[in-house]
Amino acid sequence: MLKIDYLTVPGLPPVSFDVAVHECLAVEGPSGSGKTRLLRAIADLDAADGFVFLEGIERRELPGPEWRRRVRYASAEHAWWGSSVAEHFPPCAKLGRMLSALGLAADVLGRQVAELSTGERQRLGLARAIADSPSVLLLDEPTAALDPVSTALAEELIKLQLMAGRIVVLVSHDVVQIERLAHRRLKLADLGRYNEWDSAAA
């Protein structure tokens, strides 16, 4: 279980919620409401007060890299540090199957990042985030640049991850996608209003 306890992201009121294994929680809210900041704080990419527990272990009990190998943030735009696709992937037996599940040809690993289309990059980025089997997937607009066919394939892969026992926190502007994937929803706008009410009373 992923347990967020009073996590205070700068600019947001403290947030507390749980997400169980096999569960997908959607985080909703207008642009600028802090969805990305919340996901980044959970992955410990930005400093934030409060606690995040994964199976009872608080994030500070583990070295940062170790935590992020378990709690994986996948950004809306995946960045690439090398020129070839292959150097961005750890050796992984299931990789070929995962790539074909996303509708990518097996030879994509031998290509250059610069030759890829936006959609191919996004799907590869998703595969890269999932490849080493992290326990938690924090997915920030995972299908924003994908056509309907690729979106459906990506959603199937996310569902497979849930079946395999992963925890998914999903940020998406696609309400239909949220209905298809998410078991529960968290609305950051509500929290924002709560915050305004709170500060007005103070």
């Binding site: 992955a43 990419l45 400093a47 940062g64 890299p65 992020r68 950004s75 540090w81 985030a129």
Partner: protein, 269 residues
């Protein structure tokens, strides 16, 4: 061997050549004739002053005097290093990093060169320590400055890629590995080029000086080879220490990228 002393008159004759630059400035309206004159006077005063200070220090027998001069040289080099950072990375931490790197690498390389390679008597003879330390600091300064420049620029430009690797569970050094390699390569390149062209395109400064002072050119060449090798080692070590420290400064103990520790670029003017 003949060694010709220069008189004040000789220097004034050399100063006549400055008139050429003054004439260029006037003829083309560069308006740098005053700056030229001031710079020339500064240069002369600074060098003469250093000459007299060194003359005094060389006459002393205590190693403390050598140490004092060495510390001043390191501090000045550290200050110069930060001046070259073009408004980037100029916190006291970064100043400390520059100074510690220069002190450590400059000190170690100089001690190695003086104690192990040259072996003068006494071991702390300022006549050997001061010039070698000066050359080591000058070159380490360049390589450290280049390394930090490439590292900080790379951290900004490659920010998304570095963060992507951090998000995938990389340690800070693994996440920086591409930028690190580029910074190290850039820092070592000047001395690589120096070694390739040494003696062909130009005679290195120290060798020229020794020849002018009447030394056997073959002997001067051996000294120059020794110095270039020491400088190459010092530059590599300096760049390594600077890059290592730079990555530590640009990240925190949770291995998060902390570009906020890099002050914003100074506005032009």
């Amino acid at each position: 061997m003949s060694y010709v002393e220069l008189s004040a008159l000789d220097l004034m004759l050399a100063a006549l050549l400055l008139v050429v630059n003054g004439a260029i400035s006037l003829a083309f309206g560069l308006r740098i004739e005053a700056s030229l004159a001031i710079a020339a006077v500064r240069m002369a005063v600074q060098l003469l002053a250093v000459g007299y200070v060194l003359k005094f220090v060389f006459a002393q027998t205590s190693p403390l005097w050598t140490l004092l001069v060495a510390v001043v040289m390191v501090l000045v080099a550290g200050y110069e290093l930060m001046q070259r950072q073009e408004g980037r990375f100029r916190s006291w931490l970064a100043y400390g990093l520059g100074n510690v790197t220069l002190l450590l690498v400059g000190g170690l390389s100089t001690l190695y060169a003086v104690l192990v390679v040259v072996g003068p008597s006494p071991w702390h003879a300022p006549r050997f320590v001061v010039p070698i330390l000066g050359m080591v600091l000058g070159n380490t300064l360049t390589s450290v400055s280049l390394a930090l420049q490439v590292l900080t620029e790379g951290a900004e430009r490659e920010r998304a890629a570095i963060e992507a690797r951090i998000a995938l569970g990389a340690t800070r050094f693994a996440a920086f590995s591409t930028v690190q390699a580029k910074a190290l390569r850039t820092a070592i390149t000047p001395l690589l080029n120096t070694m390739s062209v040494a003696g062909i395109v130009s005679l290195p400064g120290m060798m020229t000086g020794q020849i002018l002072a009447g030394a056997d050119p073959a002997e001067a060449a051996r000294y120059q080879i020794m110095i270039i090798l020491v400088l190459t080692g010092a530059s590599g070590l300096g760049a390594l220490a600077a890059v290592y420290g730079g990555v530590l400064l640009l990240t925190d103990s949770r291995h998060r990228l902390r570009l906020d520790r890099m002050p914003p670029r100074r506005a032009a003017g």
